[in-house]
Symmetry: C2
Amino acid sequence: MISREMLLLGKEPSVIRQIFEYSRKRKDEIGADKVFDFSLGNPSIPAPKAVNETITRLVSSLPSTYLHGYTSAQGDMGVRTKIAHNIENRFNCECKAENIYMTCGAAASLTITLKAMVSGNEDEIIILAPYFPEYKVFIANAGAKAVEVKCKADTFSLDIAAIEKAINKNTKGIIINSPNNPSGVVFSKEELEELAGLLEAKQNEYGTEIYIISDEPYRELVYGDKTPTFIPKLYNNTVVCYSYSKSLSLPGERIGYIFVSPLLKDSEDFFAAVCGAGRSLGFVCAPSLLQRVVAECDGTASDIGEYDKNRRLLYNSLTAMGYEAASPDGAFYLFVKSLEADAAAFCERAKKYELLLVPSDSFGVEGYVRIAYCVSYEQTENSLPAFKALYQEYKGEK
Amino acid sequence: MISREMLLLGKEPSVIRQIFEYSRKRKDEIGADKVFDFSLGNPSIPAPKAVNETITRLVSSLPSTYLHGYTSAQGDMGVRTKIAHNIENRFNCECKAENIYMTCGAAASLTITLKAMVSGNEDEIIILAPYFPEYKVFIANAGAKAVEVKCKADTFSLDIAAIEKAINKNTKGIIINSPNNPSGVVFSKEELEELAGLLEAKQNEYGTEIYIISDEPYRELVYGDKTPTFIPKLYNNTVVCYSYSKSLSLPGERIGYIFVSPLLKDSEDFFAAVCGAGRSLGFVCAPSLLQRVVAECDGTASDIGEYDKNRRLLYNSLTAMGYEAASPDGAFYLFVKSLEADAAAFCERAKKYELLLVPSDSFGVEGYVRIAYCVSYEQTENSLPAFKALYQEYKGEK
């Protein structure tokens, strides 16, 4: 008998994967330009030119056994120093190379951080719906229990009272994902300060540590006059899980880092536990070539102007048609209210108009759909009549 | 309270790391050419030229969002097809793309495979001493119990009778590492056939499946007239954990694969559990650029002629001096009998002659040292007087 849990996880039909397969089939049938696939959170903007230029330069200039050789488990010291320096400068907060652990992307950052902090199976990690569905998988891997708390209806901002109710002596951490996948919402500084105050009070009440795990793959994808709040500035017990997947359009390369705040209680021990967890899970080091590439490109970012054009066109057009959506300030997702209670049924009906959307149920909330607008502007423009026709079908205007 | 287990693992002083730090310090003091550091298993031969050429060609010819984008969790289908095809041709055994799961290197291959197969904490995984120390860490991560069985004294070949004694109804698997780290021994086809026969009989006796996990990072590093035996040809319930770290000198890039034999019982379910375990541990996909690179370079290998020169010089010289060593047929390790019972004390004494060796204790056997000869020929040549002087000190000939 093999692991039944892993078997089920491996066989679990992924909603997004099913849409992806349908999309491919449908594109073959009627032509790729006729299908409006908004299902995948895969960057559509190329990596900045500096990325490929750096790759080419490094392979032609550095000795092979150095460039492709093991780095230390925490990452190359030069790479960590550069990244730490940039964090210090950009956010005006203390960060040294010793606080940075290079990882194989955001998922690895999360599984390592969770495994480092969870000390027993009564430990609870709070996740805020709507959430990235894999959080539950990663929390289970660490041997803890996921506790779901819903964000406020319609705005999807933090519901501090609901979070307060969910905290108890077993609360080990809370995952914050801002800009948010799938809602596109960016939590305000005021909300986060309120959260920090609550967690401080609860730590004092229970005599425990409650960590914020700040999952920030979308940190660089913020639009208009919004700015992302850097949580380690507000709350000491913070661990940042970062990935270059979206900011540098490198999702397949698996490269990111963990920043253990030096202000976190017993920060050095926590960092050592991160090293232990990385070792235990089988991450020997982050890919060595890409470590050097992101260090050189840290601070540059893909041009998000294209996402922003799609965002404004979609948000303005859809709300003008009558759709309701969460405030789309970050990431590349628009979270739109389904026109019937059952979001999956709504997505089925949208297929009639060749619109491929993801129902919100797997994100832990009902009645919404996620529109991933990391697609061409042309697709966005061409999809508008379909959105209109879908709306009219529901409202009986047709 | 964070995870005490991970904290200890992260803080655990690594013997090899300590030697590495000593080496750096000592080289600063007396000059790098005066220190004979044989402690690290880090390839000293550059990657084949084709590797960097392929990297440069791919980044200049493939669209960025494709090349650096997510592949499926199992890996790019073209990559898996190519690798499967090469396995079929080279070993004349059935292997399809559907049997190949691309990973972030050998450690990931092992943690994923173990997590996929372990179904409860009474499960036991047999490891053969001398063994790669991280096996214990990976088995603990999967929630199973490591059961140590010693190889035969002096030859470090399989002790089938001892393995038989260790097998019971809870035995879930056995890790085979040939060519072996640290002994350099290559298990013969006859030994492996005997093992396969034993496992078949025990499976029948207990009505269980007992998997061979064939950890093969050194498969391509075999010298003289020895050839590696491909275990899936001998035993159906085999999972191969492969890495390109040594064959293509890419240890930092973290790229390898799992081959789940199609002859393994319920092979498709096992493969699905591998997918589930990869997902659970936070491996989203193997690095996308490197997947394509190794697919194009699979079948080529670093020129191991330099390792072979070191191997022959060391083995012949040391045995002529009076040292005893295991038959050095593979990998890039020579396993030499310590001149006193306490291998750690012997290594301390070797430092007087600037010889940096790894005592065998952490590999699960006593009284040996590992000499990693993935170094320059010059270092190997220059170290011989030091080995001689060390021998003479012990034998009182000086």
